[in-house]
Symmetry: C2
Subunit: 418 residues, 2 copies
Amino acid sequence: MGFENQMLEVAGAARAAAREVAVVDSAVKDAALSKAAELLVERAAEIESANAEDLAAGERNGLAPAMLDRLRFARERIEKTAAGVREVVDLPDPVGTILGEDTRPNGMRLSRVRVPIGTILMIYESRPNVTVDSAALCLKAGNAVILRGGKEAIHTNVAVAAVWKQALGAAGLPAAAVQVVSTPDRAALGELLKLNELIDLVIPRGGEGLIRAVAEQSSIPTIKHYKGVCNLYVHDDADAGMALEMTVNAKTQRTGVCNALETLLVDAKIAGAFLPGCLRKLREKGVELRGCERTRALDPEVRPATDEDWAAEYLAMVLAVRVVDDLDTAVAHINRWGSGHTDTIVTRDEAAAEKFLKSVDSACVFWNVSTRFSDGFEFGLGAEIGISTDKLHARGPMGLEELCTYKWIARGNGQLRG
Amino acid sequence: MGFENQMLEVAGAARAAAREVAVVDSAVKDAALSKAAELLVERAAEIESANAEDLAAGERNGLAPAMLDRLRFARERIEKTAAGVREVVDLPDPVGTILGEDTRPNGMRLSRVRVPIGTILMIYESRPNVTVDSAALCLKAGNAVILRGGKEAIHTNVAVAAVWKQALGAAGLPAAAVQVVSTPDRAALGELLKLNELIDLVIPRGGEGLIRAVAEQSSIPTIKHYKGVCNLYVHDDADAGMALEMTVNAKTQRTGVCNALETLLVDAKIAGAFLPGCLRKLREKGVELRGCERTRALDPEVRPATDEDWAAEYLAMVLAVRVVDDLDTAVAHINRWGSGHTDTIVTRDEAAAEKFLKSVDSACVFWNVSTRFSDGFEFGLGAEIGISTDKLHARGPMGLEELCTYKWIARGNGQLRG
């Protein structure tokens, strides 16, 4: 059973819609977004009832409670999501910003201008709010978006798609600017991933397996958000109180998120004074500890860590602990075992901090700041569509600007090349 | 015969070298570049004699004269290439530039800083100067580079590699910052393209077939420079003299380059007055013309064009000509048939020009400027490593800044997330 023609139609319509959305005024896009926020609340009962179908099916299929919770899209969450769309309305339009200007010796006035990317394919799992959030950000940045959520949320997503259609129509924008792929078949996704002439960017949000599969399968540029194996390095000149508070905050304030702490590195010169109390505190908080030999020499209750622990994204109350000889060893550990997401140093020594900030090859590198602040909202991007661990196009939290590209514009008076 | 271990070693060494080169001072990188420029001239005889081997083999293998010419790396070209390296020394170091700064409400000082990408794999065909130019740009931007040139140029490239090794050593930089893959075997390239944990970016320079093959084969981000199907649209309010001069310039000043004109679009309202004289002039210059029915009604000597002509990158003295109803039709033609490279409008009407600049979805969009100016040097980038027709990461001429990514740096005083 082929989805070739069906997906070609979806992507072709998205491409045509993208051309329209790319050049409309901010007010038109904002009108569509405001209308969508309004309709989400107005039609909440309908969305809730579609969501109830998905939840019932999920229960029948034995989905885990955490999964069912992610799937749930009740009135309160719908209203919160609608409020998020209104926040996107208030953000400045990224399109049209002049990124650079120059008049060349031949009189040609050159500028680099931010423009939409075109058509974006979002691939995600069960959370239905992504069907709202991602579409709002893509649309605000002047893109068309194709939304391919998990099959568990299919009824909810289709109900949300109806809201988008109505909102776009009310603003005079093409319905194909936001499309939900309503077939759960994997073959349909496979067809979409082939359409590199019609789709400009793929953003998979979900587990590493999903992301790797998409990146392998498609020649369309893909923004990858792999693991967040975040490290905190306690330098020998650290304020021990700050280092303790920050370790506890980064590990325990919320564990299931990509900017939570996974590995604690402690300078050998401070380990004896710092580690025993710190480990005791973490254990009190319910954190399971896995450490190197030197850590275990200071606290024999710590289980031995293996190389797998240095690369682990636990997303749970587990922490890997390693004593390192010095700053260079800490940096080498992070560049070898980290995931290039977010890493932080605690120290009073500015020179040491600056060396760390320069040498750690990660999207976000912090000094005396908890890894938990690696977040589009905390960075002032207003909202984020994900956190990229890629180095190309976008790195770290991605907001509206990262959903754009640029073009070069030259204005002249008949310049010829001699 | 497996190249797995050999290529793993090359890429691993590049990665380690990249970490070093990323953090050294500009002066160290510049010292290596200056030394390389000096050594190229000093060791020109040795390079010429290696090149003579390649040329002799090329002749034996019946390479076309144009191919042999591209392969030739005689003293004059070597000296010119060395001068190019000195120009790269004079360019500002892109690394460390602050792209944005903000103090967040919690006191965290956030900045976005330009940093090197890491390890770049350049894949190219016969021109040995790429072995110098690309390496110079990659190194200046703080990256390590793996150079995989065509097998025709292998002796020349190995001789140039020896210059790089000596220059890097003299500056105290690791030799693996610039490596030439000296095996011509395609299997070796296949192995490199798998190493997505060690190589951050692939830049293939060459024919469309090569680029597509690399993009299909590898999950490493790839900068694609496909065809340059450049369009010139003569609006009905064009200065006819300027339109004629620009058409002739863009088509005939140099034909084998990606920013040469391939399709002329003429507004129906000006076609009768403009086209016959323009086509006569082009024919005098030796241009073969292929046109739509309306063009042929004005000049029956024009051969009929097919859809293939609208998508053709002739790179030769051939031009496709189409009469279009209006600006919208011209834009639709370009967005449908062009390659997103460079397109220009000739008009005195500012509103029409601005609409064209906004609506054409190409890397470079010009008003009253010849398409031939789409070039890193003309744009003031100092030098270019290619012209990207991709929308992601880099679009249009790519200079030093486009060989960099960025990282987010936050400096605080113990910020915890509440």
